[in-house]
């Protein structure tokens, strides 16, 4: 996990859309897509806006009345997973952090819950439907009879 200056969305490889209670993020390069709810969605919103891990830790600790040390320890694997999946990238050092909007001060409904990333890989086959197997001397792909599968 990084304590660096914060994160950014890994655009243009990754795009996301926010819904009530859920963020759906799509990695356009790998074909994987993700569901983030609850604290995972809160984390993603803040991180996408440039917040650093210590800043997010403070927000979570305040919102959920939780011990900052426990929050920080709890979110570390999640941060690593977001970076490993290529959804977030560390913001370059020296780049000023963007101001991020405070989360709504909604009543805390329960104790701090560990953020969880739900991953879907059922679309990866579509990206593997690559028509390009061989390229002839003019740069055009040779069709390989029967080779490509087809989208359903």
């Amino acid at each position: 996990m990084t304590d660096g200056p914060g994160f950014g969305i890994n655009t243009p490889k990754v795009a996301y859309e926010a819904f009530d209670g859920e963020i759906v993020a799509v990695n356009l390069e790998t074909g994987s897509y993700y569901s983030l709810r609850g604290t995972a969605a809160e984390f993603f919103r803040l991180a996408a806006a440039g917040a650093s891990v210590p800043e997010i830790t403070d927000v979570f600790a305040e919102r959920h009345g939780a011990d900052p040390g426990g929050v920080r320890e709890g979110i570390a694997p999640f941060v690593d997973e977001l970076l490993r999946e290529g959804l977030l990238v560390p913001r370059a050092a020296g780049v000023s952090p963007a101001p991020f909007p405070p989360l709504e001060r909604a009543p805390v409904t329960g104790p701090f819950a560990l953020p969880r990333l739900e991953k879907f890989t059922d679309m990866q086959d579509l990206l593997l439907l690559d028509p390009i197997h061989e390229v002839d001397e003019t740069g055009w792909p040779r069709a390989v009879p029967g080779a490509p599968a087809e989208p359903e």
């Binding site: 795009a15 819904f19 897509y33 690559d130 359903e152």
Partner: protein, 359 residues
């Protein structure tokens, strides 16, 4: 002096701005040679209110386009909003121009680096052919090595990338979904392959609803979205309970795709090609339970988005954040439902019909 080999975004933009128009000119020349060698055929379509003229060098690709798009054919001499020139090498003897890319430029989804953001778009098809679209001249090109090599997927949804590029510029999104309806109202059935949307759509057709789309539909105008017809085809596994039988007008086009599906050409249905389309009333996500009662329940928009958006953008070259944003706006603008498909096929059609306004 600028180093044209540098990898900076600015130099990439410069290369793209030069390479695209040069490639379009080369395509025009190649198509012109094919047309001179084999003569031309043409027909005109009205799709979502837009006039699309398809001009073929020779006749080898005419059936490829007309089989799936024939019900949208129009008469009269309206000026086209989009003209597409099509040719194949096998029947005309004219090859495509030299490819202005290297093997490293070829990406998943048939994308070609430098040709996925406009103003010149290009992608390769499953059979190794090319679709290209020039936003500036609003002209498209389709080249195939041999009409006989076109896959069932291409025959069921010809010129898919071209339509996606052209209509996106007019605020109309191509979505991976089936569509059915009644009167001027429509529903989208969304989900990945195998989720039951094709079967459900054809069961609805047998039940008396109109079949607007099997795999791909055009959708315009959130927050009051409308569905527009595109292809008059359907693909099914032989085991589907909705396989068309004799007497219902569907024509078997070709069996035995790589995924075991069979392509059917549905009988032409008039209407649905104007700008107003069919009012989208709901988005339905079917899931095959296989037994028990068929049931309908409300579905959070995020789940509907997950059923519709990834399978749409991962099939369309160049689709990205903007397409996802449009699809998010779409699912937020209509009620969304989960349809659990039980053991009785007739219940599926009845459940879907119940989500439409009364006739």
């Amino acid at each position: 002096m600028t180093d044209s080999r540098s990898g900076s975004p600015a130099s990439s933009a410069v290369r793209r701005s030069v390479r695209g128009p040069v490639f379009v000119h080369a395509l025009e020349e190649a198509y012109g040679k094919a047309a001179a060698a084999a003569g031309t055929r043409a027909f005109t379509l009205r799709i979502a209110g837009r006039v699309v003229r398809l001009v073929f060098a020779g006749s080898a690709l005419v059936a490829f386009a007309r089989d799936a798009l024939g019900s949208l054919e129009m008469s009269g001499g309206s000026a086209p909003d989009l003209t597409v020139n099509l040719w194949d090498t096998s029947s005309t003897g004219v090859p495509p121009p030299s490819a202005p890319w290297t093997p490293d430029d070829l990406r998943p989804r048939g994308e070609i680096r430098g040709f996925s953001k406009g103003p010149v778009f290009a992608s390769l098809s499953l059979s190794g052919g090319l679709a290209a679209f020039d936003e500036t001249s609003v002209r498209g090109f389709f080249w195939a090595r041999d009409a006989n090599l076109l896959t069932i997927h291409e025959r069921g949804a010809p010129l898919l990338s071209l339509f996606a590029w052209f209509f996106r510029a007019h605020g109309v999104n191509l979505v991976h979904a089936a569509a059915v309806g009644r009167g001027r109202d429509a529903l989208l059935l969304a989900g990945p392959g195998g989720s039951g949307k094709s079967t459900t759509a054809l069961l609805c057709r047998a039940f008396g609803l109109e079949h607007f789309a099997d795999d791909y539909a055009l959708v315009s105008g959130a927050p009051r979205p409308a569905v527009h017809r595109l292809y008059g085809t359907a693909k099914l596994l032989p085991s589907s309970p909705a396989m068309p039988g004799e007497g219902d007008g569907a024509r078997l086009e070709r069996a035995g795709s790589a995924d075991g599906k069979t392509l059917f050409l549905l009988p032409p249905t008039p209407g649905g090609n104007d700008a107003s389309g069919f009012a989208l009333r709901a988005l339905v996500v079917p899931r095959v339970a296989g037994r028990g009662e068929t049931s309908v329940s409300p579905l959070p928009p995020a789940e509907a988005f997950r059923a519709l958006a990834p399978s749409t953008v991962f099939q369309l070259p160049g689709a990205g954040a903007a397409s996802l944003a449009s699809l998010a706006a779409l699912v937020k603008s209509v009620p969304c439902f989960a349809l659990s498909l039980g053991g009785d096929p007739a219940q599926a059609a009845s459940a879907v019909a119940g989500l439409l306004p009364p006739a």
